[in-house]
């Protein structure tokens, strides 16, 4: 896939990682004490809390990794020519060269065709002579 499509895919990946992270955090987070008026919420079994913390770390690591990869892809962009005019100029040059080479090719081709015709003519004459010379026995 070309680099721009890869960059676009990477942006979409970052977006999906971000909303997956927030969604998971929101869905799975343990309840927390909001106000001193209400009692402490019931403590959940600790394995959940550990997994949850582990998952949160993994997801955030994945997000950061995706962002780093985006930066790497940006660095790999082959943005050699700065500017549209430079590119258009190069295209015009290449077109002119292409035309010149095309005409050269055409000339060579015509000359080669002409020589082919001549050779064929000579060959048929030679063959005729061969046949004619063989007749009188």
């Amino acid at each position: 896939m070309d680099i721009i499509s890869q960059l676009q895919e990477q942006v979409n990946t970052i977006a999906s990682l971000a909303f997956n992270t927030f969604g998971t955090l929101q869905r799975d987070s343990p309840p927390v004490r909001l106000s001193p008026n209400y009692p402490e919420p019931p403590a959940n079994p600790t394995e959940d809390a550990e997994n949850f913390a582990e998952q949160a770390k993994l997801m955030s690591a994945a997000l950061v990794k995706a962002a780093k990869q985006f930066d790497a892809l940006v660095a790999a962009l082959p943005l050699a020519e700065g500017g549209e005019e430079a590119q258009l100029k190069r295209i015009a040059e290449l077109q002119a060269e292409n035309d010149a080479v095309g005409q050269e090719l055409q000339r060579q081709l015509e000359a080669a065709e002409k020589e082919l015709m001549e050779v064929r003519e000579l060959f048929s004459q030679a063959a005729d002579n061969c046949l004619n010379l063989k007749k009188p026995d």
Binding site: D2, I4, L7, Q8, V11, I14, A15, A18, F22, L25, Q26, L63, V64, A67, F70, D71, V74, A75, L77, P78, L79, E81, G82, G83, E84, Q87, L88, R90, I91, L94, Q95, E97, N98, V101, G102, E104, L105, Q108, L109, A111, A112, E115, V119, L133
Partner: protein
């Protein structure tokens, strides 16, 4: 059980009855459409442009500087950093003041739109670069073909001269016979 038959083909085929004898008696194919046209209730335009710089003005605020030559790499990198910061900000705000998430979410979507617009604006550049590459390849192939033809012609000339030599050697002996 009632089944509906398919609709009949459009009746234009009758106009082409004498096409084999007289190709001009049939109607011309319709000319290509220009401008906007309506298809199945939707408006389409034949001129596909990037939802141009005007999108940024009319729809969405533009976060990177406008100008003739944009340094794409730098802007993309800074937008990426902004994005990460905003994600962190959203996480923080969800912890402290959860009811104010809307503004942050809007900011994040703004950054994404900017990112995609910037990437799309690289496409014309890519198209021109592809064109340049194709032209270069074509020039190379043509030069190669010119060289090939020259070589073959020279070889043919050489063979002809050789055969003239051979014929002169044997031809003299043949005539004397």
């Amino acid at each position: 059980m009632a089944t509906a038959t398919y609709p009949p083909p459009p009746p234009y085929y009758k106009l082409y009855k004498d096409y084999l004898q007289d190709p001009k008696s049939a109607p011309e194919p319709p000319p290509p459409i220009e401008g906007t046209y309506v298809c199945y209730g939707g408006n389409y335009t034949t001129d596909d442009i990037l939802p141009a710089w005007s999108l940024e003005d009319q729809g969405v605020r533009q976060l990177y500087p406008k100008g003739p030559n944009i340094d794409f790499k730098k802007e993309l990198r800074s937008l990426n950093r902004e994005l990460q910061l905003h994600i962190l900000e959203l996480a923080d705000i969800l912890v402290e003041r959860p009811s104010q998430y809307a503004r942050r979410v809007e900011d994040i979507s703004l950054i994404f739109k900017n990112l995609h617009h910037l990437l799309n604006s690289l496409r014309p550049h890519q198209a021109r670069a592809t064109l340049i590459h194709i032209l270069e390849l074509q020039i190379q192939r043509r030069k190669q073909a010119v060289e090939d033809i020259k070589r073959r012609r020279e070889e043919a000339q050489r063979l002809l001269k050789e055969s003239i030599g051979t014929l002169e050697d044997t031809g003299a002996s043949f005539v004397l016979k």
